[in-house]
């Protein structure tokens, strides 16, 4: 039905360009040979990539972010999958309320969660600790895992479990052999989404990092407020490429369109 160049198509193209252009310009910019940001970039060099290694705060924060995101992903996936199963399979009176409660961190702005957690953790002595930061990241990631697992379960046929059970499998075997493999796409997507949520986060981390350890997005954020040089571009380019890998896995395993329900994803 659609012609190649309908007016709507052109507007859609422009808007898509608008949304992806900030990411597109980062990579050429990182290859510039001058010391200031300009576009189109001037000259060509890889100096801004080699300069990353001279800045231990970026390398360290990158590794720290990876570690934090991986731990967050594993914990959030475990906790979220367990809750999803409890809510769907062992449906009980009040499970609707619990479900609403589990998703409620999505409805409060990340900034306010950050403030609340900082003040409360200061009171109980968790502020500035790795545990505190990890817990906060788990909190904001779990709702996504729960949502994805529940979506996965909504089309899950429980007679499959019965079939295995009556063939002689113990409940744990049934879960490992049947339930988990069938839920794998949902659980894996939940894990990747949790990873990206943690890896990208600035607003909550802002309040919870300690002076000595910081996450990569936060390091970039701080650096950008002091000076704007192509160093940020080279780091960003690397992060974009890394994210792209995960995004493509996510698209293959689950489909990005299914990830975005009607719930919010706050910054």
């Amino acid at each position: 039905m659609s012609r190649k160049f309908s007016p709507l198509g052109i507007i859609a193209f422009i808007v898509v360009l608008f949304v992806i252009s900030p990411l597109l310009v980062v990579i050429p910019t990182s290859l510039t040979s001058v010391k200031y940001l300009s576009f189109p970039p001037i000259g060509f060099s890889l100096q801004w990539y080699s300069k990353i290694w001279d800045r231990p705060e970026f390398v360290d924060s990158f590794l720290f972010s990876l570690e934090l995101a991986a731990l967050t992903a594993v914990i959030a996936t475990l906790v979220g999958t367990m809750s999803g199963l409890a809510l769907h399979k062992y449906r009980f009176r009040g499970s609707g309320t619990v479900n609403g409660l589990l998703l409620s961190p999505l409805t409060v702005p990340a900034l306010i969660i950050g403030i609340a957690v900082l003040l409360f953790f200061t009171r109980i002595g968790l502020a500035g600790t790795f545990t505190g930061l990890l817990l906060a990241h788990v909190l904001i990631s779990v709702p996504y895992v729960v949502r994805l697992v529940l979506t996965g379960l909504s089309s899950f046929d429980y007679t499959l479990e019965r079939a295995a059970y009556i063939m002689g499998a113990k409940p744990l075997r049934v879960f490992i052999d049947i339930t988990l493999p069938i839920l794998k796409p949902a659980v894996m997507s939940g894990m990747i989404f949790a990873f990206l949520t943690s890896f990208d986060n600035v607003t909550v981390s802002l309040f919870l990092v300690s002076p000595t350890t910081t996450t990569l997005p936060l390091a970039i954020f701080s650096h950008m407020q002091e000076s704007l040089d192509p160093l940020v571009a080279s780091i960003s380019a690397l992060v974009i490429l890394l994210s792209l890998v995960f995004i493509i896995i996510l698209e293959r395993v689950y489909g990005l369109d299914r990830l975005f329900g009607s719930n919010s994803h706050s910054h």
Binding site: M1, P22, V26, L101, L119, F207, I220, F221, H267
Partner: protein, 285 residues
């Protein structure tokens, strides 16, 4: 209650325990704690002094108004640019629809810091837009495209466009193609079909998208800090300053709640308005 029922319940409780613990310890208690704190003075006595300050000092009302204004502008920009994209997606082949969906969503999975950095490259003094305009001879000194309210709206629109597009597209997909045709047969022109059929049917999508984008814009902090510079003060920014630089936690907590409640109140008010209007239209026609 039977034995098996009780066993099931026990399993459910065990499975939910970790999530509920995290929820309580990292969300519910902290929220209650800062709610309490917002009603305390510096000496930690119960007091309304923080809220009194917020209401009496015109500075805060000014900031609140700026926060609302920027959020409304963002909603407007997302509506104007997002609507055609959703329409295109509804009419496109499933392959094109998939590509557009992917390209709209994927950037959203990269940190907002990096996207904002991209905008700095595009909008800066030596950025793409100023370079192009200078080369074309349209201007002779760079325009100031960011570190002001314009930059903020551009950054926020980029961040939240995805929600508007997906919300409208979802309601678009539900419109039966035969409806367009029926309207066409009845002699309605393209514009009339659009205004009388398509727009009313996508109103729920627009409403959902708008309230979401509005809420997200009201509380966004990173984009404000990176693209608004020091001059554009909004509630999230001053809440951050009160807490992190002035260490006035009580006032910071109350600003957080001012932000939360004004957002909820405005969204509710707006939803009510739109819905009553729709009821009136339905009943009068």
């Amino acid at each position: 209650m039977s034995e098996s029922r009780r066993r099931k319940m026990r399993t459910a409780v065990l499975l939910l325990a970790p999530a509920v613990a995290v929820l309580l310890g990292v969300f519910v208690l902290p929220m209650l704690y800062i709610l309490l704190m917002s009603f305390q003075n510096k000496q930690e006595h119960i007091s309304l002094v923080n809220y009194a300050t917020l209401v009496q000092d015109p500075y805060y009302l000014q900031v609140l108004w700026r926060t609302i204004k920027l959020s409304l502008l963002t909603v407007l920009a997302c509506l104007v640019f997002g609507y055609p994209v959703a329409m295109y997606m509804a009419q496109a082949s499933s392959k094109m629809r998939g590509i557009v969906t992917f390209l709209i969503i994927a950037p959203h999975l990269v940190s907002v810091v990096i996207r904002n950095f991209g905008w700095v490259i595009l909008l800066g003094e030596k950025g793409l837009i100023n370079n192009v305009l200078m080369q074309a001879g349209l201007i002779d000194k760079p325009l100031r495209l960011m570190y002001n309210e314009l930059g903020v709206v551009i950054g926020l629109t980029d961040s939240f466009m995805v929600y508007m597009v997906l919300a409208i597209a979802t309601s678009m997909y539900q419109i039966d193609v035969s409806l367009y045709k029926a309207a066409g047969i009845l002699g309605a022109g393209k514009l009339r079909t659009f205004l009388n059929v398509v727009v009313p049917m996508t109103l729920p999508g627009m409403l959902a998208g708008s309230t979401l984008v509005f809420s997200l814009s009201m509380s966004s902090f990173v984009t404000l800090a990176l693209m608004g510079g020091t001059s554009v003060k909004v509630l999230p920014v001053i809440a951050y300053e009160k807490i992190m630089t002035e260490l006035n936690w009580q006032l910071g907590a109350s600003i957080s709640f001012l932000l939360l409640f004004s957002t909820v109140a405005l969204v509710t008010l707006f939803t009510r308005l739109v819905e009553t209007k729709r009821y009136k239209e339905v009943f009068s026609s």
